[in-house]
């Protein structure tokens, strides 16, 4: 069981200098670091159990299959899905959204239908829908964001969420604003007009307790690398009855029951959506990441990350000329800010010299940036191993930068 008193020692990559300064890693919204338990899981699989899954009858293949399917069950429990068959392993959030767009949207949307999104979506939850709209003749509609405080304008929901809306896709937590959206409420409203819901969980999966049945969503997309898991693995939760009615989106081995020269019959979910040899080792290590986070306690992770984000927001707000985005309180694990006279890339370059790893730019949110009249922001994002001293380092670095440029 991991313990909060030595979380930092669980993450080997944190313990290094950048230049001659100790690393202060504040780019967790892009990707988190991995705990030792996840690294060991990968190492163990390749050393001991490595074999292909499903089609083998020998000992290693059976062990690999058990571990891979065990990881699916573990992830299902992490999300409180009703059954492991509701979890499809993918490369991550982007591939999960594309799966729904390619399979469900192509089979179910036609001209006259509306895909509703919000103005705060990551390009991963925007571009796949633009492509689906082109393919099907459906149109896109956007729920507005209120401005710098970064809330969805719920007063517009009744006007926009009409019966033509067949699918409503939105993010759980904004990667640019830190806003936590009222997912359960949005899903309930969508259900009333008969729209299915796709939740982008990239920024919530590692930070907030996620219960897909309590949220009431139809699909939930997430990435392993944003929750301490490996890159190249993530998942899509889908409600069983929806998945069973969906056509495959990729063809290949592992997803068929019967193949003839001219036609094939599909397996049910999840195999129907996992053509080819899956990412076995990383899926198993994702299960280890679930164990690690549950060991720390997801309510405590949420409280820890929120406290750091609120503290950072409060401390940064004292800097002259700063423009902070997103809500001051009740925010998720990141802060995003801009100065009119100093560009984000200059800030990130300078902070790097202080050992502080930040991200600057449009954060795959170009339309939102344009709406807010910004070319980019600087983002600091926190995780379980960050401490208040990291925020002091961030603020000190920003003060040095302001002095240099002004």
């Amino acid at each position: 069981m991991p313990s909060w008193s030595n979380v930092r020692s669980d993450f080997p990559a944190l313990h290094q200098n950048v230049g001659n300064k100790p690393l202060v890693y504040l780019d967790n919204a892009a990707t988190t670091q991995r705990p030792q338990a996840v690294i060991e899981s990968l190492d163990h699989f390749y050393r001991c159990d490595n074999a292909n899954v499903h089609r083998g009858l020998h000992a290693l293949s059976m062990r690999a299959t058990d571990a891979y399917e065990g990881a699916r069950t573990r992830v299902a429990r992490f999300l409180n899905a009703a059954a492991p068959e509701e979890i499809i392993f993918t490369r991550g959030t982007t591939e999960s959204v594309n799966l729904v767009a390619a399979s469900w949207a192509t089979a179910n949307l036609r001209a006259g239908d509306v895909i509703m999104l919000t103005e705060m979506e990551h390009h991963s939850n925007l571009v796949p829908w633009q492509l689906a709209a082109k393919r099907t003749g459906a149109t896109l509609r956007f729920l507005p964001v209120t401005g710098d405080e970064g809330q969805l304008d719920l007063s517009q929901l009744d006007r926009l969420l009409t019966p033509e809306v067949k699918l409503f896709a939105f993010t759980h937590v904004s990667n640019t604003l830190g806003t936590i959206n009222p997912v359960a409420d949005l899903c309930a409203r969508a259900r009333k007009v008969g729209a299915i819901t796709v939740v982008d969980g990239a920024q919530s999966i590692g930070h907030l307790p996620v219960d897909v049945r309590a949220l009431g969503c139809d699909f939930f997309a997430f990435s392993g690398h944003k929750m301490g898991g490996p890159t190249g693995i993530g998942g899509l939760y889908g409600r069983r009855e929806l998945l069973d009615a969906m056509p495959p989106w990729q063809g290949g081995g592992g997803m068929i029951n019967h193949v003839d020269f001219l036609e094939s019959r599909w397996k049910p979910s999840p195999e129907r959506f996992e053509a080819g040899t899956p990412n076995i080792a990383d899926a198993i290590a994702l299960g280890a990441a679930c164990d690690y986070l549950d060991g720390l306690g997801r309510d405590r992770i949420a409280a820890h990350d929120r406290e750091l984000a609120e503290l950072a927001h409060a401390r940064l707000s004292a800097l002259p000329g700063i423009r902070l985005l997103g809500p001051a309180r009740g925010r998720s694990s990141l802060v995003s800010f801009a100065f009119t006279d100093i560009h984000a890339h200059d800030i990130v370059t300078f902070a790097d010299e202080d050992g502080v790893a930040l991200r600057g730019g449009h954060h795959c949110n170009q339309p939102l940036m344009r709406k807010l009249g910004l070319t980019g922001t600087t983002r600091a994002s926190f995780y379980v191993y960050n401490e208040t001293s990291d925020i002091e380092a961030l603020v000190a670095s920003m003060e040095r930068i302001l002095k240099f440029f002004r």
Partner: protein, 150 residues
């Protein structure tokens, strides 16, 4: 420490804070736009060409200190030059930002020598130049320094 001080030379900070020849040039007869899609940096360059000679030049845009200062300094260096001279100066500038080595006779542009230690920023330094060369060519397409080899 020294790398960064090299990157953000006084000349660069000065041009960033007080850009020269900034804003749309009312008398311009050539214009070209450049952008770096991943950075979001943008730069428009306006020229008044008098025959083959740059009679006047200005720029407009937004971006990091390197891209804005570089465009500003470029305008001061290109005014009065011919297209051929401008192109030669760009070759020298590219040399400076990619190798850190400046030819002796080059003055202020040498301030950008520190860029070579930050390969990701080379495209910031060359953005304005790409736009200017496109404007000289009368090339209406937007310059992007990202699909170029540098």
């Amino acid at each position: 420490m020294s790398d960064l001080a090299d990157l953000y030379q006084q000349v660069i900070l000065d041009h960033n804070k007080r850009p020269r020849n900034r804003g749309r040039l009312p008398t311009a007869n050539r214009v070209a736009h450049g952008d770096n899609p991943t950075c979001g940096d943008q730069c428009s360059v306006y020229l008044r060409l008098d025959g083959d000679r740059i009679a006047d030049i200005s720029f407009d845009g937004s971006g990091c200190a390197i891209s804005q200062a570089s465009a500003s300094l470029m305008t001061t260096q290109l005014k009065g030059r011919t297209a051929a001279e401008a192109s030669k100066l760009y070759d020298e500038f590219r040399q400076i930002v990619t190798t850190g080595q400046a030819p002796e006779e080059i003055s202020d542009l040498a301030a950008f020598a520190g860029v070579h230690a930050f390969p990701a920023r080379i495209k910031c330094a060359t953005l304005g130049w790409h736009a200017a060369l496109n404007a000289l060519k009368g090339d209406p397409v937007a310059a992007t320094t990202e699909s170029h080899k540098d």
